[in-house]
Symmetry: D2
Subunit: 345 residues, 4 copies
């Protein structure tokens, strides 16, 4: 049994991590921390877990409170995560960090979008934990930077086309839509029910911090620098991300041929499912699961390709992918503890 | 008082037309027809109107039942509208047709996307009723083809840029999201609550019938043939459309300069509102109103422009625009009966 | 033109008051105050009102900022309203107070449920502004206590039966469900989208502060002290209240006879609509309007009556009723500015 | 491995049964039938199950198509289930029937609420499968009538009080609210997104067919005939039932004492969770799980008790309870295959 802890467990990703780890057959959850709820029973804060755990939240500011955990999930706001991860790494823990702090390899890029980085050495060691692209590095990693939710859906949607050099690297458009849980569990007017219900909007147009993360991985795939037009939107749903992606085809190609390019890359992937001809996924069909479902279509009229990629932002976009990374690090079958069937109802 | 009638009044656009016309100070609603509800009191079918009208639905198949109406709104499914409009025109009525039957000027294009057209002569006479572009023709029209909901938001969002020749005419992407009322009031599994709630999906990817309508008007503006990548999505809200539009800038330009290009075209428009720098509209801010709200941003990093355009699909995207067209045809102030303030709550 | 002001205009009831008053043909809105937004343009805070008003928020703490308003709507939290209303009354203003501060006639009852009252004399003068029961007193009032949202729906639902002495005064059950806007516009975890969406719960079971307000008016109607079982619930909708009310019939009576008892009381009421036999209202059918719609059924099996009463909590349950009271105070037709047709879509 | 089949598997309860049985460690799903989808792959009809099953729907009208299943779940409309269950019973299958056909023990009562019963003998043999009340009979049953969703929440909420004779048997009020999936998967205007979204209504007031089922079990508990006022409402959520129940206390009693009465009955129940003092459950906290969560409060002011009982209507209210019954019939630990943690997000 892998002894695990979660630092910053009272948000939505923390909660989902608890749900998954409490039921994981090869992991034990020994500690969960929360500044806001320290000292309170988890089951009192989250009545859904009544009768399912006797854990109480310990203090995030006291790292000793994680006890004998050998693997620590950090789910803290970006910026504050760096220091905690550094300390934990110094103590010899393995770490899967769900913040943005260790995702951008270039300190300069991090500085431009987030601010100064105070753990640049560790940044170099950290592995970007998108298993479908970096499984081998994850296997030996001490610190895994768990990918952002938008980047996961966008990168998995574009990887096969870039790898096969089928699309222009200019004018890539990623129009992404996310459920509200992606904004976290803090109480804000912008995420209050009345403001969100029956509404829909774009936000952070042209300036969202997931942009450089997407560009880093796409550039790596293409072997050249790529800039994308990325626009996130806020959906009036609790969970789920759908990215609609547009790119210019370098040559005429059928949808059928495109699908086989996707199949080449993803055939053995346990958590990527390809839709058939003219079928596009709904976010509801992956709800509660670690799947990324992808549909694709070549448009002869315009010479462009349209890709639709969906994930559950809290699972494949956060906590599920974190556990997938844990499974890889500990040589477990990758689906262990992640075999919940999606529930679209 | 303009005597009006609605043919096919039991759908959502029909209902909104009734609401607007019943309260319109210069119009009288003398008849409403419905195959499904013929003989029933409007207020029984729509309890929201209890005490507000004594009208009963007459039979759609009996055009005499519209009595002395001089202006007829037809809200029938495409294909079936042609014949009814032809008959009404023959009887000397003025007509505002909310179907797609008279929007596409080229019979060949109509045939490709919808099927054979049986009233090609009338098609040539009909005016595409987007007041912001064709106000003068609407003024003298006998038959107005009321624009589609998606096209209204997309065309108003792109018109200033095409007219000013600021963008490439290739690679225009229109990623549009609509509330469920856009699919009509018929009972289908795809629009049932459980299927839609908490879900989100693209549909008719690359093949939606509003594509040629958008292309017709954009081509007219650009003076050259334009093909667009248009992807509609189904939002889990009842009403509202948001189109996020991407195009490649022909030259470097600031957002400020772009905004002034938009202001040039729309400064006197009663129903177009421009957002300020870095402000983008939410569908909720136009709910229940005839406004089209537009935000725009030039992106120096990518050389592209992002436009966000929102409307209430049932008002500016259908019934409100129809009444705006009526006001123009009858030389009334364009806001008459359309001054309801939006309610975002 | 009645010159009006709103103290505390940045909440949802304040916003709806602005919407109604800006369009009211006999009222002018000269000032709106907000602590949070003082100095900011109303149209910037609420983009739905872009182009519709040039007002800016003034400072709630500076009562001079309301200028020449002769009628002031106060929409402040209970407890803080007392002092402001006292000052305004001292200045000679007419006041319609939307807080709970002047609704309970007995200072002891106020103390028990809210705390000490510091303006007991004014409390005696204030009129409980439910027009259907107290129209004559409202006509001559200087201070109107605008009823709570739950009480409005519950009292209108029960008044005919109590007045006609048709039900037992014991064991009355009021099971009420409200949209989230009833909780105000403050950002809290409990009213955040993710917590509310797809959820439903009872709250303040047995201890909600609207209980004594309901009991005060029901007791007045019955001529004896009444205690009710009142349970509010939080609906995952933005607006609307539905109260399902149960009482024991004193004698056998048909639903038809019950309906005629309701008709006796409400036949001339402009804002109460009775449903027919076996028809019960949906909150959506009054949305955006000042109507209270009521359905009723006698159950021979159990000897009980079931009443369903719906309102829009922000209109008939708050801002619409406040304007209805203004119309009465100023001898205007009661529907002035309140004739918006409900929109159920 | 228990070989199982589902007759009528294409509705929401059928889908949830598939999800649970496909993942059940001691059951094998060998056949699923559907009139509508016969011949189609399950994973095509329900893309959420892509890659998770190779089953195709067989024809409901060909009972041989269930092959070697020894336990059959029937999820057919009431009325049509009787004959199929009779045939299956004749073939020696064990049956868990999710329709209403075998729940009412008295043929006369069945006739009054549903129509003629054509399998009265089997009706007498069938066991009402509410494990918390009838576990021993379920153990030896051949035909289990799986309880209705509303009855499950109402009966579990009232059982401890009736058994302990703490409440009057008159004037019991059950005000119940259900998510839309309770209405089934058929396409109807009443359950379409636009009609349900932002709405809320009571329906079947005083005449809902779950009334006699509730009364049958409450009468059994009380040892005397009980009639209840039962009002169902339609919540704008996909799943979940919350019943708020009101009864008159026979004597003064504290909430603490009430809670201990509930604990007496439910302490060993794996799927009933009691809330603490002044805590009431939200439907979201049982979502996706087989739990029934109950909160209770004695009200000294009114002499009444208020009980709030929540379930997931598709799990404890249908498919989960059916599998719980299967586990009991086959002497498996009751939680087998039902240990999914609820997910409130």
């Amino acid at each position: 049994m892998i002894k695990t802890a979660i630092i910053g467990a009272s948000g939505y990703t923390g909660f989902e991590l608890m749900r998954i780890l409490l039921a994981h057959p090869e992991a034990e959850l020994v500690a969960v921390t929360s500044r806001q709820y320290k000292g309170r029973m988890v089951a009192d804060v989250f009545p859904a877990l009544a009768g399912l755990t006797r854990l109480s939240f310990t203090d995030t500011d006291d790292l000793n409170s994680i006890g004998e955990a050998e693997l620590v999930f950090t789910a803290l706001p970006h910026g504050t995560s760096q220091e905690v991860v550094s300390q934990l790494a110094g103590n010899g823990s393995n770490i899967i960090d769900l913040s943005a702090d260790f995702r951008l390899k270039e300190p300069d890029v991090y500085r431009e979008w987030y601010g100064e980085h105070t753990a640049c050495k560790l940044l170099q060691e950290a592995v970007y934990g998108l298993p479908e692209l970096h499984r081998d590095q994850v296997r030996g990693a001490k610190v895994v930077a768990n990918p952002g939710c938008y980047p996961t859906s966008a990168i998995l949607g574009l990887a096969p086309l870039l790898r096969a050099e089928l699309i222009e690297t200019k004018n890539i458009v990623i129009d992404a839509k996310s459920g509200v849980s992606g904004a976290g569990r803090g109480a804000t007017l912008a995420t209050s029910f009345v403001e969100v219900n029956d509404g829909f909007k774009a936000y952070s147009v042209g300036v969202h911090r997931h942009t450089p993360e997407i560009e880093q991985e796409l550039s790596l795939l293409a072997g050249e620098g790529i800039k994308v037009s990325f626009t996130p939107h806020l959906l009036p749903v609790s969970r789920g991300i759908l990215s609609t992606i547009y790119a210019t085809l370098r040559q005429e190609i059928t949808t059928e041929a495109l699908l086989s390019v996707y199949a080449d890359l993803y055939v053995d992937e346990p958590f990527v499912r390809l839709m058939g001809m003219d079928v596009f996924p709904n976010i509801s069909q992956v709800r509660g699961s670690n799947y990324c479902d992808i549909g694709v279509r070549a448009d002869g009229r315009t010479g462009m390709v349209t890709i639709v990629s969906v994930i559950d932002n809290l699972i494949k976009g956060a906590s599920g992918q974190a556990v997938q990374n844990m499974n890889i690090m500990y040589n477990l079958p990758e689906e262990t503890g992640l075999s919940t069937y999606p529930d679209p109802i």
